[in-house]
Amino acid sequence: MKITNKIIENHGLKKEEYKNIQKLLKRDPNFLELGIFSAMWNEHCSYKSSRVHLKNLPTQGKHVIQGPGENAGVIDIGDDDAIVFKIESHNHPSFIEPYQGAATGVGGILRDVFTMGARPIALLNSIHFGSPTHPKTKNLLNGVVSGIGGYGNCIGIPTVAGETKFHETYNENILVNAMAVGHTKKNKIFYSKAKGIGKSVVYVGSKTGRDGIHGASMASAEFDENSEEKKPTVQVGDPFTEKLLLEACLELMKDDSIIAIQDMGAAGLTSSSVEMASKGDLGIELNLEKVPCRENNMTPYEMMLSESQERMLIILEDGKEQHARKIFQKWDLNFVVIGKTTNSKNLVLKYDNNIEGEIPIDALASKAPIYNRKWVKKKVSKNKFDFKKLKKIKLEDALLKILSSPNHSNKSWITNQYDQMVMCDTVQRSGSDAAIIRIHNKDKAIAVSVDSSANYCKSFPSTGGKQIVCENWRNLIAVGAKPVAITNCLNFGNPENEKIMGEFAECIQGIKEACEFLDYPVVSGNVSFYNGTNNKNIYPTPVIGGVGIIEKLSRPINHNLKKIKSSLILIGKTFGHLGQSCFLKENYSIIEGMPPEINLVNEKNNGETILNLIKKNLVLSAHDISSGGLIIALSEMSMSSKIGVKIEKPKMLRNLNEYFFGEDQGRYVIEIDQKNLVEVEKFLKTNNIYYDNLGITQPKYFEIEGEMKLDINDLFKINEQWYNNY
């Protein structure tokens, strides 16, 4: 087939990129080779626009065993235990086919984790939808939630935490980010680097079909009105087969038969074979007629670019074939030696002994394009908005308005569709600041949380980037965990647009600053560009997934109030920052101003002090203050426990709305037993922590003295009603 300009364009390659291919090959590529270049050089696989910025992120730390660059990041959590985790996007497929898109997103991230030898122990997700009134939203929401549940529930890994947000910026491009966390022993971590020449390359798992061909390329382009036609490029998931693959792989991993292992994710057989060879500085030769196929007459092109799910590529030690084959046969899975490693440093593709394609590995990997794209700094908006001029609103009305809004309404109608308990190690389920998962058979645990703040990132990306890292850090602190490391999923618009690239560069800068200061390195992640339709880009939406350690599981902390007449203390200083707040958005439809500033020194000091108080057993419950401010945090503590509060008005004369709805950062509410109050206050003073005594807990009523008094059950009903009426 002659390679025409049209064909090149259809493969998502720019003219200059094609010229570059000709130069690297010293000839024209054939159709198969072109497809392989397109799969490896697209944004999704090559990180060509993001690489120059990502390299600035801190990736080292005393707990880090493996940073970015492998299937997932690995951290040391003491003893001989390691935690493997990563987050990944599946935005484009989920918009086209919500159930399968979301399901295979979960399946893909699980494979990334068990490829490294870890048994997955928790799933998390961050999902963003368009406005609830948009005609597509309801269907997308239901499809995505069932897809996430359908996969996780069937494979039997608990889905324990997540966030669901609505905003019109996602009307035509939803975000579905899935995170998986696994546990393994430090001496049982498997990598994707090939070693040795003439070693068997083994294909295991499902058969290859025609689904998902060019999925990665689809994920590297904007949508337009014809996006629906891309449905055939969405993969179809089979969690049952994945469960078998998981068990078979872990069984084989018990000994040292495996040299390298890589899952077939984006760009399937192509990227898995190229990555293993590239890391090992070797060549690889595949005999494609041996690839198990689901359909007749599949061409080498289709085999190499299919994104059929639940498949892995393994490089085996000599003499281990029989042993390995037996395990996969036990689990009724395909096991076929399809090739071998070579010293040619080429990817050689044969079909019935004819060479169908031959490409130097480095042309696909290290020599893939890298762009230092132009970007512009975000300007601070000059028009100062005068919040003082706002029409007066009653505290109670504003609170109820927020609690009944889609973004703040109770999400149990989602989380109840996820099995959160299977594996019987879920100490804290969804609904708290972070979920807590016990390490099986041990008295320790990890805490996990995912967070994003797209509106903050949109209004000022560098502050927004910092804020999400801090909020995520705070969420782990609030359940008594020491934050250790993060994974990030960077969802942005079109990187060829200077403004969007600016949002990306500055968000990364913010993330970097916060991670460095908090000693909270990035160990894995994923970039998703081209989130937008017809030149309308989404808000910059970096999502942070954090993991923390709880060394002793004696008493888990959460945000449920524990008893009547305990003291409530607000940690951190309240300035009453209303810029970009949900108070303004929900009550006045105003989206103005700068996001709240981050003071990293206070952030760290406040967090570490809370952690110390929890360790000393002086905290009954804790909650971080985020969107909606102090009053929302208090109401959540009340609603989850059915215990009321009696809050005094702030002593100094202030605007009540600013005090109660301000979104100043670095703050927490903690509940303290009366008898420990003196000791806690003393400890706070010694540590130079700013705090306010808020009041006490009481039965039945949510009360701000002299302002409002509501039955908690009424509060709860209002918080729950949005979805029931949707």
Binding site: G156, T241, K243, D332, M421, V422, M423, C424, R438
Partner: protein, 226 residues
């Protein structure tokens, strides 16, 4: 007491039930679905999960598997059999238990803690519970909506074969406390000889205060003491 846990491809609560049985001092072993004989056991457990992917219909393929023939033989000989969640679905597929499990009324997967009431405490599975005792147990299923015909319902009632019913915190059997639409709030049933129990709630998830509560323990202790 010797127990055997049957493991199908797609079972995913097998580890959880094994942990529970071992914690309760059962001498337990896992039996792979391709086995054609069962070791001598006092109790056989069919765990939750998605056996064979629940393709065709939940429990349908497992109900025809090699090992299940042995389970049926043992059950007919009087061995105690406990089917939890997918295990319950499989037992109805084999005919060892009457009735069927339809999709949840709201057509969605449901995972949460629900209250159930012990409606018969005179069996090998329930003797350590008080009659009418209210338990809080986790459910996690797509198809837990128990249904049976009028005749069989009469038999279930007359022979006292209803093991548990969904109820509210105080033990009232109400429509609101029925999570999945099961007929007469039925959460679990026995066979005529009461040596087989099928139930949708997961007692193995409720044996440890750190993660939930201990309302499931007495089911296992009843079996031990029998």
């Amino acid at each position: 007491m010797k127990s055997s846990v049957i493991v199908f491809p797609g079972s995913n609560c097998d580890r959880d039930i094994c942990v529970a049985l071992e914690k309760m001092q059962f001498k337990n072993q896992k039996i792979w679905h391709k086995e054609t004989s069962l070791p001598k056991s006092d109790l056989i457990v069919i765990p939750g999960g998605f056996s064979y992917g629940d393709y065709l219909r939940s429990g349908a393929i497992a109900g025809k598997s090699l090992i299940i023939r042995e389970v049926i033989k043992a059950a007919n000989a009087g061995c105690l059999v406990l089917g939890i969640c997918n295990g319950f679905q499989i037992l109805t597929e084999t005919g060892l238990l009457k009735g069927t499990l339809l999709r949840n009324k709201n057509l969605k997967f449901i995972n949460r803690d629900v209250n159930i009431k012990v409606t018969n405490n005179k069996t090998n599975f329930s003797s350590d519970y008080k009659l009418e005792q209210v338990l809080k147990i986790n459910i996690a299923h797509n198809e837990g909506n128990y249904f049976t015909d009028k005749n069989n319902l009469e038999i279930l009632k007359k022979e006292n074969l209803i093991a548990f019913k969904y109820c509210d915190e105080k033990g009232n059997i109400t429509e609101e406390s029925n999570p999945n639409g099961a007929i007469e709030n039925i959460a679990g049933i026995y066979n005529l000889k009461k040596n087989i129990l099928g139930m949708m709630p997961h007692p193995e998830r409720m044996i440890d205060k750190t993660i939930s509560n201990t309302d499931g323990i007495n089911l296992f202790s009843s079996l031990l003491n029998h």
